[in-house]
Symmetry: C2
Subunit: 238 residues, 2 copies
Amino acid sequence: MTKKSLEICFTPAAFDAHSDSEAVVVVIDVLRATSSICTAFANGVREIIPVETVEEARAMKARGFLVAAERDGFVLDFADFGNSPFNFTPEKIKDRSVVYSTTNGTGIMKRASECHDVVIGSWLNISAICKWAEEQERKVVIVCAGWKKRFSLEDAVCAGAFAAKLLESGKFCTICDSVHAATDLWNMAREDLLGYMEKAAQRSRLRDKGLDDCIPYCHTFDLTDVIPVLRGDRLTAL
Amino acid sequence: MTKKSLEICFTPAAFDAHSDSEAVVVVIDVLRATSSICTAFANGVREIIPVETVEEARAMKARGFLVAAERDGFVLDFADFGNSPFNFTPEKIKDRSVVYSTTNGTGIMKRASECHDVVIGSWLNISAICKWAEEQERKVVIVCAGWKKRFSLEDAVCAGAFAAKLLESGKFCTICDSVHAATDLWNMAREDLLGYMEKAAQRSRLRDKGLDDCIPYCHTFDLTDVIPVLRGDRLTAL
């Protein structure tokens, strides 16, 4: 059996170098977009429509959609709620369509749509995503949403855990230096994941805004089996 | 004393997110551009003129310049020699101007020229560069040349060693996740640096082309005190 190729892209700024129309892309934005999206599907949302700009989000609100939107951790004034996974409760979102726009995570989903499949990964659904990815006969590119085109530690470590799991399956091989670096960071962090994350800039940003209550939750493994997948302009559960 | 800010940019693709007209930029391309440039200055080159495109390099050759130029490890047909540091011997380059064009390293030097200073770093001059950078009252951004816009392990680990040295001086602080990741990788690699580099993709690329003879040399600390600095369109010794 030919092994499938595995890559990690640490920042959307480098996505062009990794993009491949035949690949499966796993988008990771641990704090907080992809953790929130996984939570929403676990809680029964019908679909999520990621939009890149504030203007699009505002226009969708005017059309009657439920809108979750933030920039730099602040809820936009017209939005129904922001980006904490704790907002996506069954009471609010079950069986509904939600428009979603965030600082980093939603833009890269749109850009990755040129690839064969785009799925949404987080600690919350790591085993489900890896099991599914192992079954696809395709190259896998894990894309970290990062922070304003920069590298972010929480996404890199999570990507490393995904990569380690995929490599352990024996079905993947890699010549991508980001995979080696990310798996080494994961191996360094795994004994005390939340402790390691103390130095992440996004951890400080969320703490400064009083938004860090969700951090332990966002680093919990396998709370759900949902696999959010991009179909056209929206995410649905696979 | 206010501590100065320290950042690492893992790939030229993300440089816009780190660029700052007031900052000092240290460009690192361990295998092999910046190692070769440091060697050239240690061996008495008068100046190095980095050019980005093959066409520019060819035009400079036609104007009578000595030209070092390669793409993907292969010497361009019109060039005098390629990118191995062993080419830059005193016999060939002492007191001469050399035009230089490589796959990854030269492009980012040009792009960084909008910053306050651009200096050329490698293992060969790490202590000299760090001592100089500590004396500047400026933010420092370490930029890894990478490989075709991708992350590369050998540059990231070297950047981590630079960052660790600068942070140890007590004169810098950081909120940049790349610095945390790179210093952790450096701490993981330092006990057996060449052994750690075995998994780097560029190590394999150079071996496949029989160009890996320079790898131990390129990972040797403090062979020289030269600080190549960009002045206008060319590099000179500070």
